[in-house]
C-alpha cells in the first residue's frame, strides 16, 4: 500500500533542479509526480518514479544527497470536495499530514495525490476502512 518516494537535497543555486532532472532524463527515468519544498537557503525535491532504486542510484552518482522513504498515493474522485473528503478521514483520526502533492497524470476519473502522514500505518488503516483507493508500487509502474 505504501509507495516509494525519493527526496533530493537542492541548494538554492542556479541550475541545480535542471541538473537533477537532466540526470534522470538521460537514464530514461520518467517522473510521475514531483514537488519542491523550499526555504530561503535550500529546497527538497520529492519525486515519484517507476523505479526509485535506479533513480536513487543515478542521483547519488551525480553527487546529490538522496533519501528514499514511504508515502501514500491516494486515488480520489476528481470532483470538488474530493481531496477534502480524504483529508477529513485523516483529520477525524487525529493524523497530521506532513505534506501533500498531486500526480502529473490522472488515472481515469480519479486524481492521484501523494500524502505523507505522520503515522503511515494508521493512515492506511483509516483510509482503507473508509473505502479510499490506495495505489501500490505496481500501479505506479503501470501509470
Amino acid at each position: 500500500m505504501k509507495i516509494k518516494q525519493i527526496s533530493v537535497f537542492l541548494e538554492n543555486k542556479r541550475g541545480r533542479l535542471l541538473e537533477a532532472t537532466e540526470a534522470l532524463a538521460k537514464s530514461g527515468i520518467n517522473i510521475r509526480a514531483l514537488s519542491i519544498a523550499d526555504t530561503s537557503e535550500f529546497g527538497i525535491l520529492r519525486l515519484i518514479v517507476a523505479d526509485s532504486e535506479q533513480a536513487k542510484h543515478i542521483l547519488e552518482k551525480n553527487n546529490f544527497a538522496v533519501r528514499e522513504n514511504d508515502v501514500l498515493a491516494v486515488a480520489i474522485p476528481d470532483v470538488p470536495g474530493g481531496l477534502a473528503s480524504v483529508l477529513k478521514i485523516l483529520n477525524d483520526k487525529g493524523l497530521n499530514v506532513e505534506y501533500i502533492y498531486a500526480f502529473v497524470q490522472r488515472s481515469g476519473e480519479k486524481a492521484i495525490v501523494v500524502l505523507k502522514v505522520e503515522n503511515l500505518d494508521l493512515g492506511i488503516e483509516a483510509l482503507v476502512e473508509r473505502g479510499v483507493v490506495l495505489l501500490t508500487s505496481k500501479d505506479i509502474e503501470q501509470l
Partner: protein, 432 residues
C-alpha cells in the same frame, strides 16, 4: 602633543643602549625567577651573560600562547604572588585563557604607555573620554582607564554595549574622545543616524580604535560619520594590554613604545629575523615588565617595521597596520576562534561529515560567522522541519562549544573543498 618627550623622542643610539640594559635585566630576571624560562634557556644553552648586544636576543627562545597555557594559571609570574596587584586574562576560547599578572610597577608602566597613546590621539586634562572598551578581565577597558587617569582627563567608564545610552551620554555629556573597537564605532554611527544624531551634534574630536583588525576604508567611514580623527591602537594581554603601540596624527604607522616592548619581525616559516621594512610576524619582548615578563612572544600578527624620525617628532619605531595573522585564528566580535574548534564541535554530532567551510562576513559592521555543512545522506530528510531542526542542533552545539552564535547553512554533498593537505576552511569576506 607628546606625553613623555624624553622617552618618545630619544635618539636611536641612546634608546638602543637603554633597551640593551633593560633586556639584560629582564633576561636575568626570568632566568632567576621563572622555572619555565630557565628550562628553555638551558635547553638552548644560553645564559643571561650571553646577551651582550641587542642582536643577541636572537639566541633566546620564542614564547607562544601554548607555552603560556601550559603555565596556567600563574606559572609565568616572575614575582612572589603577594606582589601581584591585578590579574587579567585573554579572550581565548581554546581551553584555558592566558593569565596576566601585574605588579604595582606594571600598572604604572601600563598607565604610562596608555597615557602616551591617548596623548597621541589628542587627549588632555580637559577632555572627556568615553571608554567603550569592555571593563573586566579584558584589558581594553581598564587599560584606557589607567591612561586617562594618568593624563587627568575625565573618563566615562561606560564599557561596551547599550548603544542608545552610549549615544545619549555622548550627546549630553559632550564626550570629546571615543575609545572602542572600530566595528563598534561604526555600529554607533549607524544607530546615531537612526536616532537623528549627526556628527555635528556631537563634540567628538578623536577616536582611539583597536582590539581588532580594521582597514583604511573603515577609518574613512568612521571619520566622516563622526567628524573626528580616527587612530589605531595596538596591544595584547600577554605583553600588557592596549598601549603597546599607537598611531599618531600623521597616520604613517603605529609607534611602538619600544623602551618597554622590544619588537622584532620574523618569518613565521623559518623563524629567522627579517630585515627592516619586510613584512612578517611581530615578536615582542618585555623590557620593563615586572610581574610577567615575556621573552620573544610570538604575536602571530603580520606587520612590518619602519624606523625614522616621524613628522610628529617621535623616534619610536613604527609598525604598519596589522594586515593578517600567521595562523588560521579568527577574531570574531572580539572572540578568538580556531577553525579546528568548529571542526571538533561538528564531528561530535552524529551523521556530520568532516567537510565544512567557515565564511566570515561583516554585514552590518559586526562580524558574522557562517558554517557551511554538507547535507550528507545521514542528516538529510524529506521534511523541511527535520532539516531546520538539524541546523538548529548544529548551531546550538557549536555555540555551546565555542561560545559564539554562528549561522549554519546546509549545502549539497561533495561541494565543499576536500582536504588535500591544507584545506581552505576559512573564507574571510570582511574587508580587512
Amino acid at each position: 602633543m607628546i606625553w613623555n618627550k624624553e622617552a618618545e623622542c630619544m635618539s636611536f643610539d641612546e634608546r638602543g643602549k637603554l633597551q640593551l640594559e633593560r633586556l639584560k635585566a629582564t633576561v636575568k630576571k626570568v632566568y632567576d625567577n621563572v622555572p619555565y624560562y630557565r628550562k628553555r634557556f638551558e635547553e638552548l644553552k644560553v645564559k643571561p651573560e650571553d646577551i651582550r648586544t641587542l642582536r643577541d636576543i636572537e639566541k633566546l627562545p620564542f614564547t607562544t600562547k601554548t607555552d603560556l597555557r601550559e603555565g596556567y594559571p600563574f606559572g609565568m609570574f616572575a614575582v612572589p604572588f603577594k606582589d601581584i596587584v591585578e590579574i587579567h586574562t585573554s579572550s581565548g576560547t581554546t581551553g584555558k585563557p592566558v593569565v596576566a599578572g601585574y605588579t604595582k610597577k606594571d600598572i604604572e608602566i601600563w598607565s604610562e604607555v596608555m597615557a602616551r597613546a591617548l596623548c597621541m590621539v589628542g587627549a588632555t586634562k580637559d577632555d572627556i573620554i568615553q571608554n567603550g572598551y569592555g571593563y573586566g578581565l579584558f584589558t581594553g577597558g581598564l587599560g584606557v582607564h589607567y591612561g586617562a587617569q594618568a593624563i587627568g582627563a575625565t573618563v566615562i567608564p561606560i564599557s561596551a554595549g547599550n548603544t542608545k545610552r552610549q549615544l545619549e551620554i555622548m550627546l549630553d555629556f559632550g564626550s570629546t574622545i571615543l575609545t572602542c573597537t572600530p566595528s563598534y564605532a561604526l555600529h554607533l554611527a549607524e544607530v546615531a543616524s537612526e536616532m537623528g544624531i549627526s556628527g555635528r551634534d556631537l563634540k567628538l574630536k578623536a577616536g582611539c580604535f583597536g582590539a581588532e583588525v580594521w582597514t583604511e576604508k573603515m577609518r574613512d567611514a568612521i571619520e566622516s560619520k563622526f567628524n573626528l580623527i580616527a587612530l589605531n591602537i595596538y596591544g595584547l594581554t600577554e605583553l600588557i594590554g592596549p598601549g603597546v603601540a599607537q598611531e599618531c596624527e600623521d597616520k604613517s604607522g603605529l609607534h611602538i613604545s619600544e623602551d618597554h616592548f622590544y619588537p622584532e619581525i620574523i618569518s613565521p616559516d623559518t623563524l629567522e629575523p627579517l630585515p627592516e621594512g619586510e613584512k612578517g610576524e611581530l615578536v615582542l619582548t618585555s623590557l620593563t615588565r615586572d610581574g610577567m615578563p615575556m621573552i620573544r612572544f610570538r604575536t602571530r600578527d603580520i606587520t612590518s617595521l619602519k624606523r625614522e624620525v616621524c613628522k610628529c617628532g617621535r623616534t619610536l619605531v613604527k609598525m604598519e597596520r596589522i594586515t593578517g595573522r600567521s595562523d588560521d585564528m579568527l577574531k570574531i566580535r572580539g572572540v578568538l576562534i580556531f577553525p579546528s574548534q568548529i571542526e571538533k564541535a561538528l564531528l561530535e554530532i552524529k551523521g556530520i561529515e568532516p567537510h565544512y567551510q567557515i565564511i566570515v562576513t561583516r554585514p552590518h559592521h559586526l562580524d558574522e560567522l557562517e558554517v557551511q555543512v554538507e547535507a550528507s545522506k545521514d542528516i538529510f530528510s524529506d521534511e523541511i522541519r527535520h532539516l531546520e531542526a538539524m541546523k538548529k542542533k548544529i548551531e546550538n552545539h557549536i555555540e555551546k562549544s565555542i561560545g559564539l552564535r554562528v549561522k549554519v547553512t546546509l549545502v549539497e554533498p561533495k561541494t565543499l573543498p576536500r582536504s588535500e593537505g591544507k584545506a581552505k576552511r576559512v573564507i574571510d569576506k570582511r574587508e580587512l
